[in-house]
Symmetry: C2
DNA sequence: TTGAAATATCGCAATCGCGAATAGCAGTGA
DNA sequence: TCACTGCTATTCGCGATTGCGATATTTCAA
């Protein structure tokens, strides 16, 4: 079956090809073989009467026609995803659905782990695929490759709808049996060795570090670990300090010998938010998941009023 | 190749099925066999986990899910047609394109015949498929099955862009050698036998007749013919009258023995306009064709100032 | 009961994608 | 300079899917 002589499935190939400008890479993304995608490209060339991707030395470049098609093809697929392949109504009891979410291990520990438990009880057909936040996550949201991004609100642009999940504040943790297991002065804080988290191959700094850098404050960094979750075990048994979000610290304090202090320097509070693609506005599953997050948050921290420091 | 497990070509089938609520009819429209479309329907049912079209005795009815998909599927296909399969830029010299147009034989005779000649000279790859105006033409425009409708401006809704092509006025024709080959009085006009055009199996009246009906004026109708073009030969050799558009009358007067008079009753002037689908706004071919129409109109009637009656 | 108008099913041919292998091309680096 | 790497394009048999014509089945009306 064709639409005006065009095999509509080729649009999927075209989208990937235009994005990657690389037949092999695109074929992997589509879970097709390289010869298959090469064939698809040939059929696209036939249909449009245009090279679309022209070989230029080792790389491929888009022809003007391909540039022209880029936006519309993307839009068409996004539209189909939003309005046709994604059921508008979400029936937790019966729905088969995988949520793809960029979320930090921090937010996972303090909220999302709980949400996934609740979700999978209420909706047995639901599953999750979680990704660490990285530099390309917005792009993946744009492409519809993930359903949602959860990160610090100020990191999220206003181009898509978002929803605040909870607020948190900074705290300082130390080994309960070390020399810093007490309220800290600014001098002590600045003199101590610190553990920080930096993410991904680019060692992207966490919000906390970016804030200190911005203030021109520097500390001695003993260890830079790959995730928030690795911080506490780098603290226990040492006199190092780490600055982390209070909720996360409290989570670890349940089973690790760490002491939580109010930071002797001022840090802004943060708002953790979720963002999803505009075209998913009508997706009942998204709304359901957000409601679940808010409900989990209420159960854990609601009715306790403002969180106070120790 | 699939898009989120869905064969996108099935959307074409779904669109036709929803529209026709009839597998056999839809299969003909898509130039597929009935079994093939039956199979497509089964695959759609699998994918959406819904009957979509449920058999109700001899007919089929849409399920709520199908109702929900109806608009989005249509929109998606219209979008793809407008932005992907229809090239934005139109190169007359090389473009292969068929224009599908609803146009009356009247407008064809006085303008469009000329336009098609010009078009096919400038653009050898262009062809035309013309349809008579009928009750379903707007629906066909909506579905993208035709590129353009040309008719009296006031018949066209404001839901899509349109362009005035020319204005015309009414005139009365009679056989040059009959008793009415002179300026007519209202009494003579009303006393004479008339030829009118009524279109299609429903005998839809032309604008002229609708106007007279609306005024409560009735005439004796000797013959009701199927098209404007048949009117003059129903006049010649008789003492019948016919009220037709002046341009059309002048066209026939070139080679038939008819006399053109100003009508003794008042008729409003008409504006003949072309309308095309909103989603075709960026289609260069549409713009090119419209420009050709306006150019043909200028060449024929431009520079002559206001058309005056005899 | 039979006929007309539908949808669904069945066996066969064509197409598409696979894995595997291959050729060709353009840079890279020893 | 010459092997090497990474990429595109092409080919070959094979299996799965899709479409066709023929046929079975269902429903309603004469």
């Amino acid at each position: 079956m064709r639409f005006e002589k065009l095999d509509l499935n080729l649009l999927v190939a075209l989208d990937a090809l235009i994005e990657d400008r690389n037949v092999s890479a695109a074929s992997k993304r589509l879970h097709l073989s390289q010869p298959a995608l090469s064939g698809a490209l040939n059929r696209l060339r036939d249909f449009f009467g245009d090279e679309l991707l022209a070989q230029n030395g080792r790389t491929m470049v888009l022809t003007p026609k391909a540039e022209e098609l880029r936006g519309p093809v993307r839009e068409a697929l996004m539209f189909i995803r939003a309005r046709i392949t994604t059921p508008a109504a979400f029936e937790p009891a019966t729905a088969e659905r995988k949520f793809r979410i960029h979320v930090s291990d921090y937010a996972y520990d303090v909220l999302i782990a709980d949400v996934t438990r609740k979700a999978m009880t209420l909706a047995p057909g639901v599953s999750f695929e979680l990704f660490t936040p990285d530099r390309r996550m917005m792009e993946r949201l744009e492409r519809g490759e993930v359903d949602m991004i959860m990160t610090i609100d100020s990191y999220l642009p206003d181009t898509h709808p978002k929803q605040a999940l909870y607020t948190d504040e900074h705290s300082v943790i130390s080994w309960s049996e070390g020399r810093y297991a007490h309220a800290l002065s600014a001098e002590e804080y600045l003199a101590a060795g610190h553990v920080i988290a930096a993410f991904g191959p680019d060692r992207l700094p966490a919000f906390t570090e970016a804030h200190l850098d911005h203030q021109g404050i520097s500390r001695r960094v003993d260890i830079s670990v790959q995730s928030f979750t690795s911080i506490p075990r780098s603290i226990v048994g040492t006199d190092r300090l780490a600055t982390m979000y209070r909720r996360h610290a409290e989570y670890f304090a349940q089973f690790m010998p760490i002491t939580i202090q109010r930071p002797p320097l001022s840090f802004p509070d943060i708002v953790e938010s979720a963002q999803w693609h505009t075209s998913r506005a009508g997706d009942g599953a998204i709304r359901w998941l957000l409601d679940l997050c808010l409900e989990a948050e209420r159960e854990m921290h609601g009715g306790q009023g403002e969180r106070k420091c120790l």
